[in-house]
Structures are given as C-alpha cells and as structure tokens.
C-alpha cells in the first residue's frame, strides 16, 4: 500500500442491510456511512438490537444466509468488499481484516491445543512450517501471556476467560491486519481483566498501527478506547463525531438520554433519580415515516414524525441525525428528578456471624467462604463487590438457604436464628428473604403466565386463596409499574426490562425484609437498567426493605449502596459506608477494583496482574498478597491480617495502617 495516501482505510457508504424474516425482507440497517482513518479507532455504540453486530458482520462478509447488503458500499483501502469472489474474500480475511468476538470460549476449538490453533493462522499466511512455532510463541508474548511456551500446550478449557481472549487477540493481530474489528471483546470478563485487555488493545493498536472498529454497548468503554464514535439506533447512525465531543456535549436526544441513564460517581440515589428513555426500540423493519426516535423523544415535533432528518454536519466535525440538534442538551427529563424519601432506621435486620462454607470437590475442600461477619440493617442497601470467584454468590446462597453453611455459622433475622436451609424455614421467614436474579430470561418459567408466576408466590408466601392472591398480584404489577395488559402474558411476550419487573414483583410477593439482588441490571440495556434501578430505589422507600446488592458495576453500586462490603477469596477485605469505602483511603484490592472500572472520567490506574487464586489452595498469609500492588514484605506472606474496625462502622483487613494507605493513595493523583 502506498505510504502517503491519507485516504481512509475503511469507507462505509450508505450501507443498507436487510434480513429475510418469514417471506419478507426487513430493513435492519439503513443508510449508514462512516469512515475509519489509518490508525484510528472508531466506536459503534448502541443498545441491543440496534444493528452494531450486523454492520460488523457485513464488513467481515459474515452475514447469515437470510441477510443481504441491499444498498451502499464497503471499501477497505479502496477495494470494494461487497462483491468479492471467494478467493479474494479469503485473501482479505487472511491478510487485511481480523475480528475478535465477544465470547472467547466459543471462538476457539475446545479439542485443539492453543499452539496448534494459533499456528493455523500462520499456515494460512504462508509462513513456512519450521518458523511457525517460534512465531506462535512471539505473538503470544506480544499479547502479554506470561509463559507462552507453556500455554501453547494447553487446551482452551484450561485457560481463564481473560487468557483466552488474549489468545484470540493474538490470532487476530498475527497478520498485522489493516483493520481489526472488535465486537464486545470484554463483555463477560471481570472488570480487572477487562481493564488489562483494554490496555493491551490500545498498546497493540499503537504498536502495529492498525485501524480498529470497536463495537460495544458500554459508553464508558467506547469513550476510553475510541477516537471517534457513531451512535446507532434502530439501524440508523444517529450521531457521529469525536468521542470527546459526542460524550461531553451530545447533540442528539438519544445520546443525551443514554448518558443521563448512566449512574455517575457524583450523584447518589438520595440526591436524584436516574433519568430514563421511555418506550421501546421499534420492531425490525417497522415502517416509520419520520425520525425513528420520534416516539421516544421528548422534544419531537410534528416534523419529526413526518420527515426523517439527515445526518447533518454540526460544528466541530460532528454529525447529528436530528431536526433540532441544538435543543438536545435541554431535553426535559423523562422521570422526575425528585428521589423517593426513605425512612432512616439503624436497627439491625440480618446478622451474619462467622459464616463459612466449604465445598468438597473431587475429595478436596474448597473454601468458598471464611468467617464472614456482616450486619444488614432495616431498609438499607449493602453492596457486595469483588471479582468472580470471590464468594459473593455463595454468601447470597447461604443467606437464602439454598446452600447450608458450615457448622458454627449463625445467621439471625430480626434477632432470631434463621434455619440453614430454606425447607426448614417457616412461611414468614421464607417470604422475608427473597431474591432477584441476574438473567430475567432464565428467572421466569417460560411456560407460565405473569399472573401465574406472581400469583403462585403470593399464595405461598401469604398463605391466601386464589381470589385475594389475584388482587395482590394486580397490586404488585402496579407497584412494579406494569400495566394490566401484561397480566396474562407469557415471558416471551415481554422485553428484558419487563421480565425483570415481573421477577421483582415475585420477590416482593410476601413483603420481604431483605431482597438479595444478584447483578439485577447487568443483563439489561443502559436505559432499561436505569429504570430498574429507579424502581428498586422506589420500592425500597415504599416497603422499607433491605437489599443485599451484588454487582460488578461499581458505578451502580456507588449510586445505590449505603454500605459496601468488598470480598476476596471468601473473605471480607473491607466493609464500611459507601462514601467511606469509595472515598478512601481504601484497601489495596478496592483501589484496584476502582481503577479497573471503566468510567466516563479518565483517571490514573493501578493494575492487578494475574487472576484470583483457586479457593481450594488459598495462598499463605494475606489472601491478596499474590497480586497486591502495595505489598509491604514478608509479613503479608506469612500472617493473615484481621478485619479490624478502625473507625465506627468501617473495617479493613490489611497490614498497612489506614493513614499510610491514605498517603500512598494520595500520591496517585
């Protein structure tokens, strides 16, 4: 390729893509145009169903059989990609474009060793056989796999998700492609691992000088990774421009709505509700005359419903598909900002003392929980944070009576001891502790109607007959802000957010005192997530219920939680008021979690290396010493620190005195 040409690497022009559903072709993508320059990272962001992946698939020529490019062109370095012969296509895929998918465990063949799979790429590139194994080692080293010589002999199931994604990235960059397409490469990874992978991708991009198309639903990740972004909605590019401009000074009501739906670190749930986007994404191929967003837009006027706006250029090299881009920043709120008023009580509700849980796996003990002490007060939200494998879900299961804890563990509810297993608990206790699940699709029985799902819970938890239970079911539907039209609906007729509302209604059927929320919003889109968080906050104010809130998303935790408990390898590392834990000085592990969280604000970060050790072979001394960036020496490796209450209501498990931690962490900024 010529050196001088400042021509864009990828040019997508007026792209239209249809899917054949039944016998009809329906428009999925319409009139999408963007370009990616050499060494530039372009982000496509949008909620599920907006068409992000469809665009990537069209570029890769991977559209499913029922999909077709109906109009427009895609050019890579001047070469048209839409009408390629199979041989040309092969050449483009081997040498010019690579793609990394969301789920690394399905991207690799489970029965072939890592080395052989990576070597395949070099074989395709025509690298002679005797050079391949060295090239494999080199490329694995390049993606910062610590011991490549050992990893080549492994099978995919023997590696963690983060390692697998590195391997997939290694395969993608092996040919030093002109364009790298990344489709949600870090979704499903822990925040600490995500942070590492994101760092890796940015370094590699600078290193090999490739252009990147980065696709994600996460505004924060896109903001961090991309030079320019395009916001997709219902198959249309709604806004485009420099990432900085699009996110700090949005000029499309949809972008404004999305940004307002995100919990930020400044505002807590007692200060303001989160704003939401009303309504739903139009169905695929819907015949809309005007702006596709008009139905959900608070500033829409008659012209918006009649005439579809063009993607108009605005100042500062950005574009907005809106008739009134200048009014977008003043979009009225969809929900009142006034937060629900809460009662303030400090009476203890649930006291967890010395709770341990040891599983036996293949004859070896796995210490999932170790001496947990935690109090949850009436009406408060306690957040449990930590990486996967830290024991959060096990603690929830023990509390709920799904798993029985070890001997000597005591859990009391309002001062009375709670039976270890749910089947030994009385009706009142069963109703008092309930749960909202992460995945609303799997939480509802798809063969049962909404009425039956909620009604059954009401009958069991309140011990009432059919008639009063129907009444209560209707009340509950109203409480979760669902209309009566859903009373007899089956789950498949409901969107993800509505399903989650039904699941919440079920948890509230028996007037619970404590609801365990296990990542209740992580499977939902941004705007839906905001509505569910608002609902949880409102219900908490109305019912004075306490939440044990498990989440990876520290911004959500920061918004909703009164107190935070940080877990690592089955231990509590730090417990205290949310403001105190987040404000610092914090435990080195909390510090690492915080700096791993992608945020719309940039900040200095410390990085964790490696992965959480196995709970069957916990390290000696402090659990965190193997990865701790602030390890002080031998004491960390030999003596496990106690969880010490250093100030009222705040405890920390670290050998470093709090004042010293504060001094160390202050220098970070």
């Amino acid at each position: 390729m010529s050196e001088a040409a400042p021509k864009p690497i990828l040019e997508v022009e007026n792209l239209g893509i249809d899917y054949k559903i039944g016998t009809e072709w329906k428009t999925a993508i319409r009139d999408v145009s963007f370009t990616i320059d050499r060494q530039e990272t372009f982000g496509l962001v949008g909620e599920s169903g907006c068409g992000k992946t469809t665009v990537a698939m069209a570029i890769m020529h991977y559209l499913p059989r029922n999909g077709r490019v109906s109009s427009g062109s895609i050019r890579l370095a001047g070469r048209d990609l839409v009408d390629l012969s199979p041989n040309e296509l092969r050449d483009v895929r081997v040498n010019q474009i690579s793609m990394v998918y969301q789920n690394p465990s399905t991207a690799l063949n489970p029965s072939i060793r890592i080395g052989a799979q990576v070597a395949d790429v070099f074989e395709l590139m025509g690298v002679p056989k005797d050079e391949r194994s060295q090239r494999v080692i080199d490329i694995l080293a390049k993606v910062q796999i610590a011991d490549p010589a050992r990893v080549v002999g492994r099978y995919p199931h023997q590696l963690s998700g983060g390692m697998l994604q590195r391997v997939v990235i290694a395969m993608a960059i092996a040919s030093e492609p002109t364009l790298l397409v990344l489709d949600e490469p870090t979704t499903g990874l822990d925040a600490t691992v995500e942070a590492e992978v994101l760092d890796l991708v940015s370094n590699l991009r600078d290193d090999i000088g490739t252009s990147v198309l980065y696709i994600s639903h996460s505004l924060a990740v896109i903001r961090r990774m991309c030079d320019r972004v395009g916001v997709l909605y219902a198959g249309r590019l709604m806004a485009e421009g420099a990432a900085e401009a699009v996110f700090t000074d949005p000029r499309h009501p949809y972008t404004v709505g999305l940004l307002r739906s995100l919990p930020s670190s400044e505002i807590g749930r007692d200060e303001a509700t989160l704003d939401t986007i009303p309504g739903f994404l139009p169905p695929l191929g819907a015949d809309i005359k005007g702006c596709v967003y008009a139905d959900r837009c608070a500033i829409a006027e008659d012209i918006c419903r009649d005439v579809e706006p063009d993607l108009k250029p605005l100042t500062g090299n950005r574009f907005s598909r809106c008739h009134f881009p200048d009014r977008a920043p003043d979009l009225p709120r969809a929900v009142a900002a006034e937060p629900p008023v809460r009662q303030t009580e400090t009476e203890p509700l649930v006291e967890i003392s010395n709770v341990s849980k040891t599983f036996i796996q293949d004859g070896h003990p796995v210490y999932a929980l170790n001496g947990i002490d935690l109090t949850i007060h009436v009406g408060e939200t306690v957040a449990l944070v930590g990486e996967s494998g830290s024991g959060k879900t096990t603690l929830a299961k023990v509390l709920l009576g799904i798993d029985a804890p070890d001997e000597g563990s005591v859990i009391t509810l309002s001062g009375e001891e709670l039976a270890a297993e749910v089947r030994d608990r009385g009706q009142e206790d069963v109703g008092a502790v309930q749960m909202v699940f992460q995945n609303p699709d799997s939480a509802l029985n798809r063969r049962h109607s909404v009425r039956r799902i909620i009604g059954r819970a009401v009958r069991l938890l309140r011990g009432v007959g059919r008639k009063p239970s129907d009444e209560r079911t209707r009340d509950l539907l109203a409480e979760v802000r669902m209309g009566m039209e859903y009373y007899n609906a089956k789950p498949r007729h409901l969107s993800g957010g509505l399903k989650q509302r039904v699941a919440i209604a079920r948890a509230f059927a028996g007037s619970p005192a404590l609801v365990v929320c296990d990542e209740p919003t992580s499977a939902l889109d941004v705007s839906v997530q905001a509505a569910i968080i608002n609902l949880l906050a409102e219900l908490q104010a109305e019912e004075n219920v306490a939440y044990l809130f498990i989440s990876h998303d520290l911004n959500v935790v920061r918004y909703l939680a009164d107190r935070v408990a940080v877990m690592y390898l089955g231990r509590l590392m730090e417990v205290g008021p949310a403001k105190r834990v987040f404000g610092g000085p914090h435990h080195p592990y909390t510090e690492a979690l915080l700096s791993a969280a992608p945020d719309l604000q940039e900040g200095a970060r410390i990085r964790l290396e490696g992965e959480i050790p196995s709970a069957s072979e916990p390290p000696p001394g402090c659990m965190f010493q193997t990865r701790c960036p602030r390890k002080i020496g031998e004491i960390c490796e030999t003596i496990e620190p106690d969880l010490v209450e250093t100030e009222a209501g705040y405890s920390i498990r670290c050998h470093i005195p709090v004042a010293e931690l504060g001094r160390l962490q202050a220098t970070r900024v």
Partner: protein, 282 residues
C-alpha cells in the same frame, strides 16, 4: 444464556412448511385409515374361507392384486387389515415407555447425585443388552401374548426415553426459575411436574415420535421371530416369516407386499418425526 422461546405458532409454521412432515404424514395416514376402516376396504375376507386353499399361492392378478398366500387368502386384504395390529401394539408400547421413561428421567435428572449414579448405571446396564434379545427373553418367560409384547417393548424403551428426558431436565435445573421455586419452598413434586415438566415436553414429543418408528420395527421383528402376537390375527411380520421359505420357488408376493408395508410405515413415521424434530429443536 439465551433461552429458546419458540412459540406454538412459530413451531406450527415450521411444520407446515416442511415437505418431510407432509410426505410422512400422508403415508402414515394411509395406514391409520387402513387400521381403522380396514374391514370396509378389503376386497376379500382377510381371514379367508375354507375353499380358499384351492386357490393357494396364486401370483398377482386382476382378482387378487397382491396374489394369494399359502392358505389361498388375499394378500392385499391381509396387508390392509394387518396395519391395525402393529399400530395399536406399537402405539400402546410407546405410550407406556414414554410415561415411565419421562417419570424416571425427571426424577433422576432433578435429584442428580447418588440417585443419578445408581439408576443411571442400572439403565446403562439395561441398554447394553440388544433390544430384541431383551424383549425375546422376557417374552419367552411371559409366554406369547399381545399384552406381553406391549409391556415388554414399553419397558425396554423406558431407559432410552429416560436418558433423553434426564439430559433435558439437567439443563432446565440450572435455570434460575427452579431456584426461584425452591426459594418459595415449593415441593419437589411441584417443581418437577409443574415447573420443569412443561419445559421439557418438546423433547418428549420428539422422542415419542422417534420411538414409535422403532416400536413398529420391534413389534414386527418379534412377530417375525414367532414371539408375541396371536397367529389368527393378520400380521405383517408373521406373514413374512410364514412365507419366506417360498421365495426360493420364485413366489415373492406373499413376502414382498407385507415387507413394503412395513418399510413404508416405518419410513412414514420417521419422516413425521424428522419434521416435528426440526420444528421443536430450533
């Protein structure tokens, strides 16, 4: 994880547009009609009359399209009426096998652990003996009778169906709605039969149609071997076993036509099973 949410309407849509299903359904329907209305369709009395013997082993002709058998009975009439016996017996056997297999599969899949280990091993041991041999041994002990055939084939199918249902239940048990039911302190019986069962019916329906094809084959194989059905009732398997020695004398019709009947019915049922499986499995 995405949970399949194919609705009844979509499923019917797939079935309706499946040529496989329609060809199979047409063939099957012919035999079902023969089974129900056979007596009205037969040109001659399938059981024959004493004078028929004078007319034995006549090749196909205008009077007897499929020829006559060793007792001079009309082969066509016996083929038409023969559908009744095989269809009722295999249907009954498959129903028994499906009910028992589903119950066993639900329990084993839900409880898992030791229950799964013990019952699973017993089922495996059972499965390792060839199906027809198991059935023959049992029938030899029971003595030949129609009810015995139904029961034995039903029991032989039970572990096969149980294995399939168990696998489906294992997948369902991981889903959160089961945990939600446990948190409401639902009984295991309720969770199994009201929560999980409706979600595995697809698998059971597919398994049922597949097994029905095998059942037909097994019933006929047993009657060919002389086990089971009463000799007075027209039966395809028995007809073949009674006449195959004549094949050397170039008398092919008393064997070929029942054999074609068997083949077409088995193929028909299997095509229906394929069509249903396509609709239920996507």
């Amino acid at each position: 994880m995405t949970v399949p949410t194919t609705s009844r309407v979509q499923r019917w849509h797939v079935i309706r547009r499946s040529p496989t299903f329609w060809v199979g359904a047409a063939i099957t329907l012919v035999w079902v009609l023969s089974a129900i209305f056979g007596d009205l369709l037969t040109p001659y009395d399938p059981l024959g009359t004493p004078q028929d013997v004078l007319n034995r082993l006549q090749p196909p002709s205008a009077a007897n399209w499929f020829g006559t058998d060793e007792l001079g009975r009309d082969v066509l009439s016996r083929v038409i009426v023969g559908a009744r016996q095989v269809l009722t017996v295999s249907l009954a056997a498959t129903v028994i096998g499906t009910i028992l297999g589903t119950a066993l599969g639900l329990v084993v899949g839900y409880y898992g652990g030791l229950v799964d280990d013990i019952i699973g091993r017993i089922l495996d041991a059972f499965l390792s003996i060839p199906l027809v041999i198991t059935a023959m041994l049992a029938l030899a002990a029971l003595g030949p009778n129609t009810f015995g055939v139904i029961l034995v084939i039903g029991l032989v199918f039970t572990p096969l169906i149980a294995k399939t249902v168990r696998a489906a239940v294992l997948a369902e048990r991981q889903l959160d709605y089961v945990t939600a039911a446990q948190l409401l302190k639902e009984s295991s019986f309720y969770i199994l039969f009201v929560e999980i069962f409706p979600n595995v019916t697809n698998v059971i329906i597919v398994e049922f149609t597949v097994r029905l094809g095998y059942a037909i084959f097994t019933v006929l194989a047993l009657s060919f071997l002389g086990f089971g059905l009463e000799p007075s009732i027209p039966d395809w398997g028995l007809a073949i076993s009674q006449h195959y020695q004549y094949l050397t004398g170039n008398i092919w019709w008393p064997v070929l036509f029942p054999a074609l009947a068997i083949a077409s019915l088995v193929v028909g049922i299997n095509l229906v099973a394929d069509g249903i499986a396509q609709a239920f499995e996507n």
